[in-house]
Symmetry: C2
Subunit: 381 residues, 2 copies
């Protein structure tokens, strides 16, 4: 079961309030999608993931394919049962990681052709071949609620010619993914992926092509890699107006705090980002700039700094999360400095809570047609 319903359209912007229904429950949109790479939102239990307001998260097909393997997960009843999370889960196609390998030190181990990507496991060197069909088959075994087509992740910067070639491959793979999906009689919600880099005509061609196919939703890719915030806005302004109204739209890999208003106002329904969890593990705490005399950069401060070593206040004095209700900056600073495992948990928990709370307020503001005033207040514009 997969349904998408628009509950309210913002009057001034393209933002919309909606609801995605899946076999594992509903997602109120706009929604932040956390990242739980190896079937674990790092350091948290499923109970806690839910307590942070997280409705849905990504798992990475690439990681789970190698460890523990999709066949093991299937045997154990699918990824929901495997990790004991009963809410919705999205999986990616595995492509992003393979293309990252191709662009990094492992470049010589990756061969990209129209059929798919040949590569070696970074863990044990095993040769593997990822095709659109195979990605769909793996994701079927995982049993996630929403799955993605394999796409050719266009590098950035890129020439127009390269971008065209890459886009053609993405479109070819979109059709092959759909065919495999139908053949396997998967009941999951398959999203197509719009690419086209920073070229307006390519983006428009892509959105038209992908929209013409019977996907359950549309993901927008290639916006997180190397581009500036400005270009993200430009790309969304080209793409979103041409998307079908009635399908949910996911923006891949974007979700820093100051992106969120932009992407929501552009009409994006869901978006994923490792930022809150990864920054948390590095000791960067999310906070609203104007709260509690902390100097912030991009809504974060570094809890390990000496000035916090005796600070009795919670991470964020305005926050009502478990961490802020129970611990001081001084203690969390100490935990990070002592490399105590509890440090990573507490920071991850707070950061996820912070982002989800913001997105909850955004949903409320759309409902009340006050999105722009919330943005002004939050971003202090």
């Amino acid at each position: 079961m997969f349904k998408f319903e628009i509950l309210h359209q913002d009057r001034k912007t393209k933002a919309r309030l909606g609801k995605i229904k899946t076999d594992h429950g509903e997602i109120e949109t706009p929604a932040f999608v956390a990242v739980g790479t190896a079937a674990s939102v790092k350091s948290l239990t499923p109970q806690e993931i839910s307590q942070t307001g997280t409705q849905v998260f990504f798992v990475n097909t690439f990681h789970l394919h190698f460890r523990p393997g999709e066949k093991v997960i299937k045997k154990l009843g699918g990824v929901h049962k495997f990790m004991n999370w009963n809410g919705p889960i999205i999986s990616d196609s595995g492509g992003f990681q393979v293309f990252s390998l191709a662009r990094e030190k492992e470049a010589n181990l990756v061969k990209i052709s129209d059929r798919g990507v040949e590569f070696r496991s970074p863990w044990d060197g095993t040769k593997d071949f990822l095709t659109p069909e195979k990605s769909i088959a793996i994701q079927k075994d995982l049993g996630t609620d929403i799955i993605l087509c394999l796409d050719d992740c266009t590098p950035y910067p890129v020439t127009k010619k390269q971008a065209e070639k890459s886009l053609a491959r993405t479109h070819r793979w979109a059709q092959e993914s759909l065919k495999a999906y139908q053949k396997l009689k998967s009941k999951q919600a398959l999203y197509g992926v719009v690419q086209g880099s920073v070229f307006k005509d390519l983006r428009i061609a892509s959105v038209k092509f992908v929209s013409s196919l019977p996907f359950a939703g549309i993901a927008i890719g290639g916006v997180s890699v190397g581009e500036s915030k400005k270009e993200m806005k430009k790309v969304l302004d080209w793409v979103v107006p041409l998307l079908p109204e009635n399908k949910p739209r996911h923006l891949l890999g974007v979700g820093e705090i100051d992106d969120i208003f932009t992407l929501v106002k552009a009409g994006v329904d869901t978006f994923d980002c490792v930022m809150p969890t990864r920054l948390g593990r590095m000791g960067y705490i999310l906070i609203k700039s104007q709260n509690s005399n902390v100097k912030c950069q991009n809504f974060t401060y570094e809890i390990t700094k000496t000035k916090f070593a005796e600070d009795k206040r919670p991470l964020d004095p305005q926050c009502d999360c478990y961490v802020c209700q129970n611990f001081t900056r001084a203690y969390i600073c100490h935990l990070f400095r002592s490399k105590e495992l509890l440090a990573y948990r507490l920071a991850t928990y707070h950061n996820l809570y912070f982002v989800n709370k913001l997105v909850e307020r955004i949903r409320q503001a759309i409902r009340e047609n006050s999105l722009e005033s919330l943005e002004k207040e939050f971003l202090q514009k």
Copy 2:
């Protein structure tokens, strides 16, 4: 406030059921004392520490002295407030770690004299000097409920002559600790430490000397280092009968599963051990040997083994802890193999729960005069 009450004396052994009352609540004895070195029982929140049945844990004066420093902890309201744990806490004297340094690669950086121990911080090389007075002063700043005298940790093996010299220093320091304690008007419960290595006459001399001083309780040291289980039993059989009945007895650094019955039957009230938490982080899971066809060694099995990769059972099918109610061996095996932070938490939680549950059953058995039958059942003797 510190009171110790004996509720029931086992008929056949020296085991006793008791209750220690502190300003931060009661400890039902016999009690396992967890280890929370740097003011954190590694990976767990205070809430979870309590859920595992842990009533009390150690913090290490040596670690907290360097990070974040006892003055910081004092400013923040003491270690209970610092880490948000409202139950009883014990601190050690700091000596054990300094003497460990002296015996390891840092030997040339440590100078031991009758006044105390001069050494360098293993973190930043700062010169420091630990004396009985200083240890008491640091522990006062920490604000723990039960504190320990600095003792000379006798190495093992050791000659009789060395052991005599070491014991004389321990006794001298016991008096100096007491004097410092009285001078500082500390309200904490100060425990004296019995040493004497494996020499019967020295142990007897020590227990007589330490018992003659007005300590709130008695700790037995030097049993965890290098000795065999047999010698532990011998030492306890020399020492315990000479201890005052009405004072609680703590056994330092001992608490592997098959030690527990021995030490409780010998009349020990509390005992601490890093085993359940440290082994947990290494992927060793505590279980009763006869449970669920798992081959065990010392009541543990290694969850990372391939045979558990598809095992749908909980870590311990007989266990009703949060982890065993919610996760499979397969998932936890995967988390360990993927080095996911959640792995360390789940194993730590289960292992602490397992030990505390055993000790709870031991208390129940003492109450019902059935300790030996529980031992037979549990150890399959």
